[in-house]
């Protein structure tokens, strides 16, 4: 294993972490305001893949495709809120979690009926990477990083730079106190669902560009997204992103030692270890908990 190999592994980890970062962010955002892990995240990602594919085929522009994916994702997120989650949000975690599993199944079924199960691909050329002393730097990776960073920048600006964002964070911190202070729950909720839907949509498009578009494509990001969000601290958006990248890199580093099958298990093992040491996740403060 040369130094270049290690750098390559690190870069690979960064990239696979980035692909999970957006769904993990979505999971944490939903958890922050609605207080449950949203198992429908993966299926909104799949929807984003289809939306992006159609937008790209129609327009030929990746930018338009991304916008289309974000828009459809936001719509689906809002629809899931109004049709399914709104009525049951005050109930227990398990109720919401099971509802989200149901919502995920329904979305997957709709995708299957509308588009069939054949995987589809984006017609995009593959580029060669630049080699620099054995380290491989790929332009498409650069695009992925830029898009992810751009989305993250927008989301964090929203959360930390606008009054709506402040309200959302207040609600996430302490819902009752926020309500008592007069912060409107409904508008924050709606914004949150639209936002997470858009984030998932863009993630879906990126996954679709790099792999395939199919009704099951998003499900494969769900468990890694959960693990990343938990490691970072459920409800903490920055934690989710850092968690995703951290897990991605650790997984790739572990590959020469544990092989390609156990590298996947590593994400869950790291999650268990982190929670043993710090049950609230890496970035969360300890909250009033049992």
């Amino acid at each position: 294993m040369t130094f270049a190999d290690i750098v390559n592994l690190t870069l690979n980890g960064l990239i696979s972490g980035m692909l999970v970062a957006l769904p993990a962010l979505a999971v944490s955002l939903v958890y922050g305001l609605a207080r449950f892990p949203n198992a429908a995240t993966g299926d909104v990602v799949s929807t984003g893949g289809y939306a992006g594919l159609f937008a790209y085929t129609a327009s030929g522009s990746l930018l338009a495709a991304g916008a289309g994916a974000a828009a459809i994702g936001a719509l689906v997120g809002l629809a899931s809120y109004y049709l399914a989650f709104r009525a049951i949000l005050r109930r227990s975690v398990i109720t919401s979690l099971l509802t989200s599993i149901g919502v995920g199944f329904v979305i997957r079924a709709l995708l299957g009926v509308m588009f069939g199960h054949q995987p589809r691909t984006f017609d995009m050329p593959i580029t060669r990477a630049a080699r620099w002393h054995g380290v491989m730097l790929n332009p498409t990776d650069g695009q992925l990083v830029l898009v992810t960073l751009a989305v993250l920048a927008i989301v964090f600006t929203l959360l930390y730079g606008t009054s709506m964002g402040r309200k959302m964070r207040a609600l996430a911190d302490d819902a009752d106190l926020a309500r008592v202070s007069g912060i409107g729950v409904e508008r924050s909720m709606v914004t949150m669902w639209a936002l997470t839907g858009a984030v998932c949509g863009i993630a879906g498009m990126m996954v679709g560009v790099r792999t395939v578009v199919s009704p099951d494509a998003g499900w494969d990001t769900l468990l890694p997204a959960f693990a990343a969000a938990v490691v970072g601290g459920l409800g903490n958006p920055l934690g989710a992103v850092v968690g995703a990248i951290l897990l991605g890199v650790l997984q790739e580093w572990s590959t020469p030692l544990v092989g390609f099958v156990y590298k996947i298990a590593l994400a869950y093992v790291v999650m268990l270890v982190v929670l043993l040491i710090r049950p609230q996740g890496l970035f969360n403060r300890v909250q009033g908990v049992r």
Partner: protein, 297 residues
Amino acid sequence: MLDYALTLAVVTLIYVLLAFALDLQYGFTGMINFGVAGFFGAGAYTSALLTMRAGWPAPFAFAAAMVVCGAIAWPLGKIALRLRDDYLAIVTLGFSEIIRLVLVQEQWLTNGVQGIPGVPRLWPTWTTAHSELFLLGMLCVANVAVVLFLRHLTHSPYGRLIQAIRDDEVAVKALGKNPARFKTQVLVIGGAITGLAGAFFAHYMTYIVPDQFVPLITFYVWMAVIMGGVARLSGSVAGAALLVLFLEGSRFLRGVLPWVSDDAMASVQIGAVGLVLILFMRWRPEGLFGRAREGSR
């Protein structure tokens, strides 16, 4: 027709066992365990390997499956103790996946992704029809035994204690009891029952492969518990029956909705399952037979 009915009965009773275990852990003790599939698989493989490689007689292999799964549940219990509901769900899900990946990777033991065909029926020298009937009979016996055991457990002071843990753990601690011990015990007992269900599954299907023990199975068991009614053993039975009815009944929908293509039909089936989950959670979260428990937790 009878053969198909028998298969449905076996599948239903296996799901009933799984629902009992989960109901004990969630319905009575309030622990959100999403790791069912992993224990199910561990039990199946334990019994299959012991009967095939080590020549153990089936009753001992079944008992070993229970012991192994109970033993696996113990460290999970230790980890889970400090976690809240939502974290526990994801952690147990991860644990289940770790078990599945071990089954995939340790080929010297499990034959990996090739799976293990030819798991002996009970008993190999009998005809298949007799073996299946016998398995069904043993499954009934197991179900009855578990029901009696759980009834006794949940109606006893122990049962009141674990329900108290579900309802208000802080109060239990204030009374000087350590909830941690009991939660671990419940995970172990539930794990053992799940392992038993796995053993029955292995000897009925006669072919097991790690791909069968995926989180989807865990979701199905949750559906059974939720639809039937939490904290009600009769609810677990009803829920499992309902689950099998939905999963298998959608096959017959094909005749009823002839204009839907076969390809779309499978999607319709998944969609129906999802819809049922959403509707139950919205309109009848306590399940068909459960008592209405309101209030947010």
